[in-house]
């Protein structure tokens, strides 16, 4: 078929040697940090270039440096490392058949962790998957997350939802959807309601660059723009939507952040593996929303180092070592080096922390398993599936439940 259509290709496929030298990265500290009351038009540089704080010598530089104290940095490092150790343990447990499904956030831990740390507890989170870091920052116990993945007697969702599709209303973490993008307009609706109610809370949502092709992404931006809703909308551009490269969703050379401008929304494109840059951009956007100045779209430029899920085999579509060549590195390693450069951290402390967290994760797993395993139970009661279909269990479900239990 002769065609003039442009069919996007991934830059590298299995067998290729990755070379990302074509990705033009601005120097850290190069971009200005404008006041938050700004028109979308004035964010062209911020949405086409990239906000970066950590430079090649691991120093924090430029106007976007959030000037975080050492304790905050240690917290951030701890949360990110816990996220990774937790993910690795759960991945191993899936491989051993102890859970059926898992999704790791490897390589993109700074997104959820730094963003959540830049928010207030009252801010409502409308996540996509791979944002378990939000729950870690909000203080959800690993045991509770593990019990959800195990679908055991302590599963807070009573065996109803897919592993990792968490829901923790108590910490303002909305139910994850397996069908993509639905959270974007919902976050805008929540933010509009917050304005009606007169609170200063903002809504924050995340979508993958792949699912930004869903209509819900565009609905969310349209409504956020029209009503100037206090919302922070994030596109996590981790390069891969299962097997399709980011250019399948966005075309070539078109930053996702820049889409905001057409909607009249400021766009920020951020080095998603730079903890400080992610923190700073999120603070800017949250402050803007709280001031009533309106929404912001942030693109977090990162890399999905792990497979899409435990059901995915990236060997079919990308070089398995591609992450090693990723020019923005590893967010944990970069923050660690920055803290060491500041004299606030050491390799020894890091190794100690890693050991502590590994032990903590292992102990949590043992505790979670004591409440039941996926294969042998105890599971949530079968009767649980008839509850919460409606507010009250209707007669036909009472009948079905009775028949089933007989």
């Amino acid at each position: 078929m002769a065609t003039k259509l442009h069919i996007p290709h991934a830059p590298f496929r299995p067998g290729d040697k990755p070379d990302f030298s074509n990705i033009k990265l601005p120097k850290a500290g190069e971009l200005r940090r404008p006041p938050t009351r700004i028109h979308a038009n004035e964010t062209r540089d911020l949405s086409f270039s990239m906000i970066r704080v950590l430079d090649g010598d691991h120093r924090a530089v430029g106007e976007w440096d959030p000037h975080l104290d050492a304790e905050t940095l240690r917290q951030g490092l701890r949360h990110m490392l816990l996220n990774r150790v937790f993910d690795d343990r759960m991945y191993k447990m899936q491989r051993q058949g102890k859970i059926s499904f898992y999704m790791r956030a490897t390589g993109e831990e700074a997104v959820a962790v730094a963003q959540c740390m830049a928010l207030r507890p009252g801010d409502m989170l409308f996540p996509s998957y791979r944002q378990q870091g939000l729950l870690i920052v909000r203080g959800i116990r690993l045991v509770d997350m593990m019990c959800q993945c195990l679908s055991n007697s302590r599963d807070n969702l009573q065996g109803r939802q897919l592993p990792v599709l968490y829901s923790f209303k108590d910490v303002n973490f909305f139910t994850l959807s397996g069908n993509l993008g639905t959270q974007f307009p919902q976050a805008v609706g929540w933010a509009m309601a917050a304005e009606y109610k007169g609170t200063s809370d903002v809504a924050v949502s995340w979508i993958g660059e792949g699912s930004s092709a869903e209509a819900d992404f565009h609905y969310g931006l349209t409504f956020a723009s029209v009503y100037r809703a206090p919302v922070v909308l994030n596109v996590v551009n981790n390069q891969w939507a299962i097997s399709t490269y980011q250019n399948v969703a966005g075309g070539d050379q078109n930053p996702f952040a820049a889409r905001a401008i057409g909607y009249g929304i400021p766009g920020l494109r951020v080095d998603g593996n730079d903890f400080l840059a992610v923190f700073a951009a999120t603070s800017w956007a949250a402050e803007r929303a709280r001031q009533g100045a309106g929404p912001t779209l942030i693109e977090l430029y990162t890399y999905r180092a792990a497979p899409h899920s435990t059901s995915d085999d990236p060997g079919r579509y990308r070089p398995l070592d591609e992450w090693q060549y990723w020019p923005l590195g590893d967010p944990i390693d970069r923050l660690k080096k920055h803290m060491i450069a500041r004299g606030e951290w050491s390799e020894e402390q890091h190794a100690e922390l890693e050991k502590e967290l590994t032990d903590h994760v292992l102990a949590s797993w043992k505790e979670a398993e004591s409440y039941g395993t996926l294969n042998e139970g105890p599971w949530p009661p079968v009767s649980a599936m008839f509850e919460d279909v409606y507010k009250d269990v209707p007669p036909h479900l009472i009948k079905q439940k009775r028949e089933l239990l007989e």
Binding site: I7, G159, P380
Partner: protein, 321 residues
């Protein structure tokens, strides 16, 4: 040959035969779909004809409707049937009605492939069987193969049909094996297949439930109950004649379908039987479908929501008792 391979072979043969046939959907090229059903097609037909699309079901279904109106024969791949809720406007208000609304001047010869079926531990949003939604709509045809042979023959008919066709594959049946002849063949729509001949009771079953019905029939055999198992293969058009004749012969009927029982395929077929064979029936028609709850993740919970051979067996025994 497996059911998945049969679908792939049908698509490959039709793509070789007719250059207007192309496939579009998510993760279909290098990945060959998440179920690996289309593995290798991109190598033979290239990325233009095995088109990886943005994650935008309504978007790529819309482009398929547009392309089909020019005479192309798109095959749209909806990864999980649950995502078909996103394409309802394009399928229901566009694809199904364009011929009608254009005074017969435009046609939409497209196929929408989607999966159905629970028991994969995929929970509420990846396990539903929503084929009844499409069967409700004038202008659409709805196909539910239960064997590799049927899948291949019906897929070829679907691609060659000048109407929009919705083709549901049970994701748990992709590895099901069965004989498939080497030569080209098609299976007409609206012709049911008697999967097992019997005299005492008719079990009408679709897609994933055909195997369940056959297993139940085997269990019934031990109690000297001879069950006839019929697969309509297309729920629209529906082979009412074959279903009614069997009902008249056996005088007892069970209808099993994995969709939600209420307002579903089982209700439609039960009413066809009631209207066509009422005076031959010894018992009310029994419907068995998925429970009226979202499909839970937990294996023991999920297994309780969908019809099983034991349940069909029990219902049949009660009807024949």
């Amino acid at each position: 040959m497996t059911l998945g391979e049969a679908v792939r072979e049908a698509l490959a043969e039709e793509m070789r035969r007719d250059s207007r046939v192309f496939i579009c959907g998510e993760d279909i090229a290098e990945a060959g779909t998440v179920f690996k059903v289309l593995t290798g097609l991109v190598d033979e037909f290239g990325k233009e004809r095995v088109l990886d699309t943005p994650i935008s079901e309504a978007g790529f279904t819309g482009i398929a409707v547009g392309a089909a109106m020019t005479g192309m024969r798109p095959v749209v791949d909806i990864m999980f049937g649950d995502f078909s809720t996103l394409v309802m406007d394009q399928m229901v208000n566009q694809a199904a009605k364009v011929r009608y609304m254009s005074g017969g001047k435009c046609k939409v010869p497209m196929v929408m492939r989607a999966t159905l079926g629970a028991s994969r531990r995929s929970a509420a949003q990846h396990s539903q069987s929503l084929h009844a939604w499409f069967a409700h709509i004038p202008g659409l045809k709805v196909v539910l193969p239960s064997t590799p042979y049927d899948a291949k023959g019906l897929m070829k008919t679907a691609i060659r049909d000048d109407n929009p066709v919705v083709f549901f594959e049970d994701k748990m049946m992709y590895k099901l094996k069965g004989p498939v002849p080497a030569e080209d063949y098609t299976i007409p729509f609206g012709v049911a297949d008697i999967k097992r001949v019997g005299t005492d009771i008719t079990i009408i079953a679709t897609s994933s439930m055909v195997q369940v019905a056959l297993d139940a029939a085997k269990m019934l055999e031990e109690f000297d109950i001879s069950a006839e198992v019929i697969d309509p293969r297309t729920v629209w058009p529906l082979d009412e004649k074959t279903l009614i004749e069997s009902a008249k012969k056996t005088s007892r009927v069970i209808v099993v379908d994995e969709g939600y029982e209420r307002y579903g395929v089982t209700a439609e077929i039960a009413s066809v039987i009631a209207e066509g064979a009422f005076f031959s029936l010894e018992a009310p028609v029994k419907r068995i479908g998925a429970m009226h709850v979202p499909i839970p993740f937990s294996p023991p919970l999920e297994d309780a929501t969908i019809p099983t051979e034991r349940q069909v067996f029990g219902a049949a025994k009660a009807l024949c008792g």
